[in-house]
């Protein structure tokens, strides 16, 4: 019993913080590995619709994104609020999609071209007219693998 009393008299020893950097570095590496850098600044508001029968997209390096939605608030003064298409970092017209697909293909290896997917990230309030136009252009460009980007959720 005397052993315990002796320890109590000395008071609490300071907790060593020497391993704190290691812990934080571990967290850092975890985030570096699991996340991706934000590539584009969105000029359009996109809230994708909900769906239940969804699949995870694989091979992100082979995916090209087409954003469709109405311009964000600060851009509405110059671009209006009608739904627009965004490719990379700029607004685009429907006619520019074929060119966009061509440049995306050039950036990839020839072997990977058949596995390339185009992800349509459209706002849920967008009308189908613009999406149909985009789909027609993709058909013309022979980029037939598409993915309607959706959130997970039930109605």
């Amino acid at each position: 019993m005397s052993k315990f009393r002796k320890g109590g008299k000395k008071g609490m020893p300071a907790i060593s913080t020497a391993s704190l950097p290691d812990i934080v570095f571990m967290l850092l590496f975890f985030f570096m590995v699991t996340t991706v850098m934000r590539e584009t600044t969105l000029f359009v508001d996109v809230l994708t619709p909900k769906a239940t029968e969804i699949k995870k997209m694989e091979k992100k390096s082979l995916v090209s994104y087409i954003y469709i939605g109405s311009p964000v608030k600060r851009m509405q003064a110059s671009y209006g609020s009608a739904a627009r298409i965004q490719l990379n970092d700029a607004f685009a017209e429907v006619s520019e999609i074929q060119e966009f697909i061509a440049t995306e293909r050039e950036a990839r290896d020839e072997k990977e071209i058949p596995y390339m997917t185009t992800s349509i990230k459209a706002d849920e309030t967008v009308r189908m007219g613009i999406i149909t136009d985009v789909k027609q252009e993709l058909r013309k460009a022979n980029a037939l693998k598409i993915n309607y980007s959706t959130r997970k959720g039930d109605y």
Binding site: T17, A18, L20, P21, V24, F25, L27, L28, F31, M32, T34, T35, V36, M37, R38, T48, P49, A51, T52, E53, I54, K55, K56, M57, K60, V63, T117, S119, A122, D123, E124, T125, V126, R127, M128, G129, I131, T132, K135, Q136, L138, R139, K140, N142, A143, L144, K145, I146, N147, Y148, S149, T150, R151, K152, Y155
Partner: protein, 183 residues
Amino acid sequence: MASSRRGLPEINAGSMADIAFLLLIFFLVTTTMDVDTGIARKLPPMPEEELQDEDPQIHAKNIYVVLINTNNQLLVEGELMDISQLRDGAKEFIDNNGRDANSSENPEKAIISLQNDRGTEYMTYIRVQNELAAAYNELRNKAALNKFGERYANLNKTQKKEIRKMYPQKISEAEPKNIGGDS
């Protein structure tokens, strides 16, 4: 002389944690973790002009016509239908196997034809796509459970192929029309 005997003073590593935290916060802010999910579809290739009149003959009863109008209303096989009933309706149609003379002969021949208006809301369109995909997935799951005693997602490649052959997902989208006007 006195200092050399003592050896080099230890470098203070107390701020190491701060540096690491700084880096960590930088990465937290600049990166995104969202996994991209979505409904995968394959577009039909552009029709080649020479092949236009070689349309394969499909019996009208093997086609399940789904129309969506500008007001996001559904017309299924000529009748107004609520989206919540679409899944069951599609399942019944696909898995008819000739029971009803006016419905599909078998799942392999069943085709779902989807047509939307330019004014249809994207949300409704995705919901319809989702319901149709769900109908197929449920049928595939049922067949997989019957045949292999496992859900479709847990089957191996050849088993999946077999089930896919039983229930091929045939969703055809007609060329767009502009009936109800844009916007």
